[in-house]
Amino acid sequence: MIELKGVRKAFGEHVVLDDLTLTVRDRETLVVIGYSGTGKSVLLKHVVGLLQPDAGQVIVDGASVPDLDREALYGLRAQIGYVFQFAALFDSMTVAENVALGLRRRALGEDEIAERVSEALALVDLTGNDDKLPAELSGGMRKRVGIARAIALRPRYILYDEPTTGLDPVTSAVIDQLMVRTREHLGVTGIVVTHDMRSAYTVGDRIAMLYEGKIRQVGSVGEIQATQDPLVRQFIEGIPS
């Protein structure tokens, strides 16, 4: 379970998260929606300890992330797959090397690493692209490699940062299917940050809307679709203010 309790984060005088409280239950996929620049990615980075809250608690599996020492933090990160908005693949490494990198931190033999890489690439329909460099891939393929790199670790948690942003509708649907398939295959707990409502309805068990540093509303897909909150309605229906 992932819990954020009263989290506050400011960059200079700009407060991004303000007394934010949110719980992600085991084995569910929670989608966090919100306008661009409202701190959705900042929220995700707190979960893996890439950012420290100014106040409040971030708890994963009962452990307070900001209080973990170096070894414990890396131990926790080994349980979390993180898919970055622009994939964040290592330019100088091939697709297979990118996917294998996280596995090399574990006590696995070369054969098992190769097997896990093939399995992860097969799951994202990228078999046969092992030796390509990131520069040779399309945007959608890069995102799929990013997902393969995360799922190869067989994580307990997976965090997706804008997984469909910048992709055409068909590729977006492919990524959505992939996220659903990943949850079904691995039974992982996930957080998906997006402002793509079609994607949110497809992959989410629950949806939370982040607005002005706080969770404005959280509920099941049906509850969000039927919301009477004018601000949430405006966002999910894409009505200009």
Binding site: R77, A78, D91, G102, R149
Partner: protein, 253 residues
């Protein structure tokens, strides 16, 4: 004005704090030998192979100019074999390490700042962390180890080339014989000339790579931020090399 001064002071103190934290994190990552040793070997090859041509090119021409200027200065007053003394001492103690250091601040420091800066702004550094790698042991320590160990090797070659071109210039253009050149070269030679120059280059290598890493990983923004970091890395490294050069001359020579 007082507000602006206060802001600048706070920013300076914060920068010093960040630098201290960076060094602390780097020291804490030193036990990750299995991660940084193989990467350090790759970086050593890269730093060495990439830097050698530039350093040797500069040293070759410096040797020629030193011989000609020495002869120009000495004519009629000092025996010409002192050309060997001046070329040798100057290459070993000063121009070999400092000119190579300044050239490599541009070659190595800028390249590291640009590479790490790009990795920072494209979230590759964050990705490393989420894959349970410490950026200090994966990115920083290999580069600093490579810079500190390879710079003396590069400078040793540069000194050799500088002295050789100085000798060839003395033979071809100044009419000095090889025994006379060698006589001058050996005249005031002490072993300290060599170790001082090489020790200095090791500290330059450490400084250039450390600055490249600190500035590169501190990059913010996009392409503009990377460009700014690259320039900063070169300027800071060049200034620190000159300050260090004076410091070692005052404390060790």
């Amino acid at each position: 004005m007082i507000t602006a001064l206060g802001r600048k002071t706070v920013a300076a103190v914060q920068a010093i704090g960040r630098f201290g934290q960076f060094l602390g994190d780097t020291v804490r990552a030193l036990p990750d030998l299995s991660i940084w040793i193989p990467l350090a070997i790759t970086q050593m090859r890269r730093v060495g192979v990439d830097s050698l041509p530039v350093a040797l090119f500069i040293a070759a021409f410096t040797g020629i100019v030193l011989a000609l200027q020495a002869s120009y200065t000495f004519t009629g007053a000092v025996p010409l074999y002192f050309v060997g003394t001046l070329v040798g001492k100057t290459m070993m103690l000063e121009l070999g390490p400092v000119l190579a250091g300044l050239a490599l601040a541009g070659r190595v420091g800028a390249s590291m700042a640009a590479e790490l800066g790009t990795m920072r702004v494209t979230e590759q550094v964050d990705a490393l962390e989420t894959l349970a790698y410490d950026p200090q042991s994966y990115l920083v320590i290999p580069r600093i180890v490579a810079g500190t160990t390879m710079f003396p090797v590069i400078v040793a070659f540069a000194i050799g080339v500088g002295i050789t071109t100085g000798w060839l210039t003395s033979l071809g253009l100044l009419g000095l014989s090889t025994p006379d050149f060698l006589k001058g070269l050996k005249l005031f030679y002490v072993f300290k000339d060599v170790w001082f120059g090489l020790f200095k280059s090791a500290t330059f290598g450490f400084t250039i790579t450390l600055v490249g890493c600190v500035v590169g990983l501190g990059t913010r923004g996009g392409a503009e931020g990377v460009g700014l970091s690259t320039t900063r890395a070169v300027v800071y490294s060049a200034v620190l090399i000159l300050v260090l050069d004076a410091f070692w001359a005052m404390t060790i020579l």
